[in-house]
Symmetry: C2
Subunit: 257 residues, 2 copies
């Protein structure tokens, strides 16, 4: 068998935040199985590969996890070089662990390529460091796809003990806020809603926990994944993001010299 | 002023895990200020830049944080393209937030380039997904540099509620274990100590919380940063890492076809 599968993190969206290894694997790939969080701009990086969508879109259920496993195994056994491309990092709520186990069980050669996680990068690109001296000495990452996914962790955590990052949490904002307030978080705690972090369409709402549930977002975002950040570090967002330059223009200017 | 500063995450060590943007910035850089967690292999990526070490080494105190801020501001004002290269992600215990604030206060143009964080990548490269259905629906990242940095967060967290990742925690293993056991974590909870994650010298110790403090590590590691992972997800490490192929050889083989 010369086929193999690389389970690869695509980062937060901007192709410039792909790793060198991801780019090399895409360049050589015969088949790319990708999900909804992967930017269409990445297609140009896989000139000879066939792209096959296996994610969920706008409320419609996606192809099942077992079916993805079967596709990966079959393609590798046919000798294809397969990239399983997942938004962010493949082992952060990406079910990458399940895919790795399925590949291991099938005896298919595979590797895992970590990516830049939106849990850290989405806040960073909005000027929010998840840790900062005097403000947060650690951070907690949970999934917001269902209350049962974040409630046990947030219920147990002392209020204000750490920065909280909620991935895919836009739809469950109201439940998130009620869990936090019931646990004793101050309604005035800074909070942010970040969307499309590393793309030109990036939006950042900066407010408080008290206003998080009712924040008015652009309509397009109501169904989007998005990242929520709660904690004192959010107070740095305006200072850091206002001062920062736009990287692309600077790089383009630098290149000419 | 044509100078600027890019605060750039270098990832867990392997230059292949740098982002495209990091590589481009290094290629164009006049000056690179780097810390101890940055791999020497990255130097070839900055052919024209001057490399200047500003980290801490083996117990000796490094240059102070204020001095780093002054260096960054002065170099940018002199018109240099400066890369501030930090291991992992610059906003995860990297004091990148402080540097961004100092640059903002000085009116120096800057950008922040997220990197692959060792908090996620070190476990991943050892076959440990920080989240996994049925095993962990979230994770907590703390710094192990001092007990005061991790104790408040771990004391507050319900045992087994989430995967725990401790960065730079080798020296404080004993305190970590006593905090966890006192909080009610089972001594049999799987735990791992990972070092030099993405390098050829990578080592992974897989055991339990009960054995974490007294695990015998190669002597060279006693002073190394290292990453500690605690939680049920560690139980997947052997299955995933044993099955995985070595990526470099596979890539090299693939390239020839």
């Amino acid at each position: 068998v010369s086929g193999f599968v690389a389970v690869v993190g695509a980062g937060p969206g901007d192709p410039d935040l792909l790793t060198l290894r991801a780019v090399r694997l895409l360049d050589e790939a015969d088949l790319i199985l990708y999900d909804a969080l992967v930017s269409p701009d990445m297609r140009r990086l896989a000139p000879r590969g066939r792209w096959f969508f296996v994610g969920k879109r706008a409320g419609r259920p996606g192809i099942g996890q077992d079916a993805i496993h079967r596709l990966l195994v079959r393609a590798a056994r046919r000798g294809l070089r397969v990239v399983r491309l997942k938004g962010g990092d493949p082992f952060v709520f990406g079910r990458g662990g399940e895919e790795a186990l399925a590949l291991a069980a099938a005896g298919v050669p595979f590797e895992v390529v970590p990516g830049v996680s939106a849990a850290i990068a989405a806040p960073a690109l909005a000027g929010i460091p998840v840790t900062h001296r005097g403000l947060a000495s650690g951070f907690v990452v949970v999934s917001g796809h269902a209350e049962s996914a974040f409630r046990p962790i947030l219920d147990s955590l002392e209020p204000h003990a750490a920065t909280i990052v909620v991935l895919m949490g836009l739809a469950s904002r109201a439940q998130l806020v009620s869990v936090l307030l019931a646990r004793g978080w101050a309604p005035g705690t800074p909070a942010a809603i970040l969307h499309a972090a590393s793309s030109p369409e990036a939006t950042a709402w900066i407010g408080t926990v008290g206003a998080l549930a009712t924040a008015t977002l652009p309509e397009m975002l109501s169904d989007a994944p998005g990242t929520i950040v709660v904690g004192r570090v959010v107070s740095l967002a305006n200072t850091i993001s206002a001062a920062r330059t736009v990287p692309e223009s600077r790089l383009a200017a630098g290149r000419g010299r």
